[in-house]
Each structure stands twice: as C-alpha cells, then as structure tokens.
C-alpha cells in the first residue's frame, strides 16, 4: 500500500459520485480527477491507491492515465500555461505567444521554469476557436490573447 490517500472530503466525494454509476469501473476518470485536484498530479502511489479502490491492477490505471493527456504524470509547478496550437489559434497568432513564453520564462513546450512556478504546454484544440488565440491558465480559459495580455497574466502570477 502506498502513501497516497484522499482527503476526508475527497473520500466523501468519491462515494457520492460512485453512486451515480451502474459499475465502479466508471469511477476511473472521476477518481483520477480527484487525485489531480488534490495533489496537482497523479503519482504512481496515487495510481496504486485508485487501483485498490476500483478493484483494478495498477497497470490498468497506468495505461488509462497515460491515454488521457490532461493527467499530469509528474509535478508541473504552480501555474500551468496551456497554449492552443491548432489551426484557428495558429492563424490568429499562437506562434508569437509561444515565442513570448520562451523569451520571458525560458521554457518551451513540456518544460517547467527553474523556480518550479510555471509549466508550459502546447495543446491541441481547446474549443475556443472563436476567441483565438487562447491560453488556459490552471484550467481557466483566456481568449483573444495577445502578447500584452499574456505579459500581464504572467506578471500577476509572479
């Protein structure tokens, strides 16, 4: 048994959500979301914990978690900047935003800043094409993004 445990509140939340489904297997996504919201990432220990709760083997949880791009399989820092790179965002200026992040924070896609504060991801379409280009900061969408706006957002996070 690993060290990971849900908080008391998350244990209750797990039990509440589990009642909504005909089988416990359906808790795979909700269980991993609870882990990530609690810890910021999904550790091997947490996968063992989830496997135990759902009657799965750890490898089943691992193969599931690695399929879905939103689960962080390592710690990613305080602020996660996700830049949409898909077509409408590309046409509307995403490459300039990527360059700006590299120039100001020194990080490219998949990298975390040295102080551990910022993590940068280039992501595929986020369904914000009408507000392109967009970034998400810790899941919150910021649309019609510009270098000036992004600069302000990053400054506020520092």
């Amino acid at each position: 048994m690993g060290k990971f445990k849900y908080t008391e509140a998350n244990e209750k939340e797990f039990a509440r959500i589990a009642k909504k489904y005909p089988k416990i297997d359906a808790m795979m996504l909700p269980a991993l979301w609870l882990v990530q919201e609690q810890e910021g990432w999904v550790s091997p220990d947490a996968m063992i914990f989830v496997a135990d709760k759902l009657g799965k083997t750890p490898i089943e949880v691992y193969e599931f978690a690695t399929f879905y791009t939103m689960f962080n399989l390592k710690p990613i820092g305080t602020y996660h900047i996700e830049l949409c790179k898909t077509l409408s965002c590309m046409v509307m200026g995403a490459p300039e935003l990527k360059k700006f992040v590299k120039d100001t924070l020194g990080i490219g896609p998949g990298e975390t800043s040295e102080d551990g504060k910022f993590h940068f991801s280039e992501v595929e379409c986020q369904g914000a094409c009408g507000g392109a280009p967009m970034i998400a900061l810790n899941n919150q969408y910021h649309e019609n993004m510009s270098v000036d706006k992004l600069k302000k957002i990053i400054e506020e996070c520092k």
């Binding site: 077509l87 590309m90 595929e124 369904g127 009408g130 392109a132």
Partner: protein, 419 residues
C-alpha cells in the same frame, strides 16, 4: 437577401443570467415538459422523426430513427448519453449551451429520456471545459433542488430522471460515440467495431442512445411547438437550424444559429462581418477540421446544408467554419492539422496510428526544403491506404482534409522544393 439569424436553441443566449433557473423559467424553460408527459413516448419519437432533426455532432444522421433503434422497454436499465466532448478543431458551439442555457439541455434530456425510456443520463464533456462543467453542474443541482429532476419530473410526473456530468480527460477520439462509452466505462477511448446492421449503442451491455448536446437541446422546441415549427426552417432534406461557428480572421467570429441552406459567403460577410484588416479569403474548412477544404472560388458556390456540401465535394460536419486568409501557407495548414491528428489518433488501428505519423513526418520533410514530388505522392498514397481500413472514421477524416489540401494546393508544396 440578407442572412437571418434564427432563435430556437439560442433563444435565451443573450438574456442576462439565463443560466440561472429563476431566469430560465421566466423565459420558457421546461414549458415542453407538460406537453411531453401528455404524450406517449413513441409519439415524441414520431414527432422528432417528422421534424427531420439531424445530429449536430458532425455526422448529421437523423435523430428520431436513431431513437427507434432502442429495443422495446424491458426490465433492463437503458441510458441516454449526451455527447459534449466537442473536440473537433473549429467547433465551439455546445459550450454556448453549457454557458448560456444549461437548463435547455436539461429540458431536452427530460423529453428525450422519456421518449426512449431512459432514467439515467450521462453528459460526457471534454475535460478542458472545466468552467462549463461547473456551470452545467450548478444548473443540474438547481434542477434537483427544485424537483425538476430526481425521483419525479417537475415534482409531479412519476418518472425518475438522474443526470450526471462525466468529465473527460483530454482525448479527441472520445467524441466518437463508442469511444466515449468506452471512456465512461473506465477504459481507454478506443472506438468499438461496428455491427453490420443498425442497432443502438450499448453501455455496460445495456441499451443506450448517444446524441450530441445541440441535438438534445433542439428537442424541447419540437415537442412544445410541433414538428412543423422546425420544418419551416432549413431545406427539405435538412430541416431546421444549426449553431454555426466561425473562427479565423473575420470581424465577428462566434456562434450563430442559422437555418440550413444559407449561402456560405453571405454568412461570412453578413454575419461574420467579412475579413478583417483588409485580408482576403483564401480558403475555408467548412465544418470542423475533418471536412475537405474549400478554395475561395468554391466558397462562392457553397451552401450550408449537408446535401449541398456533398455536391461540392465537402461535408457540413459540425458547422464550424475555419477561415483561412491569403498569405497563409497551406503546407503549414496541412502540417498543423496532421500534427493534431497524429497526436490524437487513439493508436488502436495500425493504418491510422502509422499513417498519421508518416504523413506528419513527410510534410515536415517538405517544409524543411527536403521534399520531392515523390513525397507528395507518398502523402496521397498513405491517405488512400488509411481510408476505410480502420474501426472508426478518424482515418477517413484525416484522408479527407489532407488529400483535399494537397490536391487543391499542390503547387504550394512544390514551392518548398525550390526553396
């Protein structure tokens, strides 16, 4: 004639706080429920059949006949699954419903669940839409608190309906209905092999129907006002309306409800405000990234309905028009899209998993100035090899968009050889 906005699904979008139950009730939400429960479930299905309502998630299949694929009601549980995965590039319409009128979706779920005999509905929403998921969950909570759903409907109809939002984890393929079900069932989102004959979907081995968010949200109007209220819009084969999304460098990008059959160029100019900053239109991907690209000349002949789109060699898809301006390299466009598809292929079928990677590498080689005619032919060959040889339509979608770009803009690929 100027393009007219139609307000059926989007009727309440502009009303302040329309997402709150109190406001929603004042503006007509849940008015269809009394009518629905005065009808037999089959009568609702017939009404939806007569309305010609078609799936808004990209496929355009008729909704009513799909409901009829459910087996007769027996002791088994049966499910309604609402597809809100919305991951097709260029598509951002369902989020308007989550944001501005979540009670319309709940109302649609009640009508639709009653029609197909389901008591449990799951709304699968892409994980990135956290804010929209929270908004919808608040509305569902309000609906429970006020007895609109739960053990009874509207506190009076003896019909249990429970609604659960299931948050995805970031995988485009989970918008494919069988992959979506696999995902809820706690597995990787791998599409299922399709049966030879038409039949319903199966959720944990029980009968299920999967419909898009906008499709379900179109049902209350049909139930309340009758199918004629819907068929007065659109074309004979594509009655009604659709939430069309427009992105790229137009003056007014956004989501607009229009009847089917409007002229695409008029929509871009009248509703989208035309190109911004003096840019010229070069091409449009008409209904999300999977639809064959249209050149500016083809756009002039394009009408926004399924049949017209097929006639000019493309598809309507989700109605998400991606506008591409002059000055954009179509090789870069192809590269951008194949990176998306390469990244999002679920990997289950070899032609798709390997084909997307192969095309990705070949276009990169061309962009680096190391390409040749043989590479262009290789891309086209791989497209043909992928098409029709996989479990789901992901690979055919890749073939459609990439082949169309390469064939219509081959000269731009050749330009890179010279550089």
């Amino acid at each position: 004639m100027a393009v007219e906005l139609v307000k059926i699904v989007s009727k309440n979008f502009d009303i302040p706080d329309s997402h709150k139950l109190e406001v929603a009730l004042k503006h007509g939400r849940y008015e269809s429920i009394d009518k629905a429960f005065s009808m037999q479930p089959d009568e609702i299905t017939e009404e939806v059949c007569k309305s010609g309502l078609r799936g808004k998630g990209g496929g355009g299949a008729a909704c009513g006949p799909k409901w009829k694929l459910m087996p007769p009601v027996d002791e088994r549980p049966r499910y309604l699954i609402v597809n809100g995965d919305e991951s097709e590039p260029g598509t951002f319409k369902d989020r308007q419903i989550f944001q501005y009128d979540p009670h319309l979706l709940i109302e649609g779920i009640i009508c639709s669940s009653y029609a197909i005999g389901a008591h449990d509905a799951y709304i699968y929403i892409r994980g990135e839409y956290k804010w929209f998921i929270d908004r919808l969950n608040e509305a569902i909570e309000e609906a429970y608190t006020h007895g609109i759903i739960g053990e009874k409907v509207m506190n009076k109809y003896d019909y249990r309906i429970d609604i659960t939002v299931h948050r995805g984890g970031g995988a485009y393929i989970c918008g494919e209905k069988s992959a979506l079900i696999e995902s809820i069932e706690g597995k990787r989102g791998h599409p299922r092999l399709k049966p030879h004959g038409k039949e319903c979907e199966w959720f944990y081995g029980m009968p299920a129907t999967v419909n898009n968010v906008e499709t379900i949200s179109s049902v209350p109007n049909i139930v309340l006002n009758g199918f004629e209220s819907y068929t007065k819009w659109g074309t004979e084969k594509a009655p009604g309306t659709m939430l069309f999304a427009m992105s790229g460098p137009v003056k007014n990008p956004g989501v607009y409800e229009l009847q089917y059959g409007e002229k695409m160029l008029d929509v871009i100019n009248d509703i989208g405000g035309g190109m911004k900053d003096g840019l010229k239109l070069k091409a449009v991907i008409p209904g999300g990234a999977s639809c064959p690209i249209l050149t500016a000349e083809e756009v002039e002949k394009a009408y926004l309905d399924y049949e017209s789109m097929w006639d000019i060699g493309s598809t309507l898809g989700t109605g998400g028009m991606m506008i591409i301006p002059e000055g954009t390299s179509m090789v870069e466009v192809a590269k951008n899209l194949i990176e998306f598809y390469h990244h999002e292929s679920c990997g289950q079928c070899t032609p798709c998993r390997e084909g997307t990677g192969w095309i990705d590498k070949t276009i990169k080689k061309i962009l680096e100035g190391n390409g040749s005619d043989e590479d262009i032919n290789t891309i086209l060959d791989v497209c043909v090899t992928m098409n029709g040889k996989t479990i789901c339509v992901f690979a055919p979608a890749v073939k459609d968009i990439i082949q169309s770009i390469v064939e219509k803009y081959r000269h731009e690929f050749v330009e890179y050889f010279k550089s």
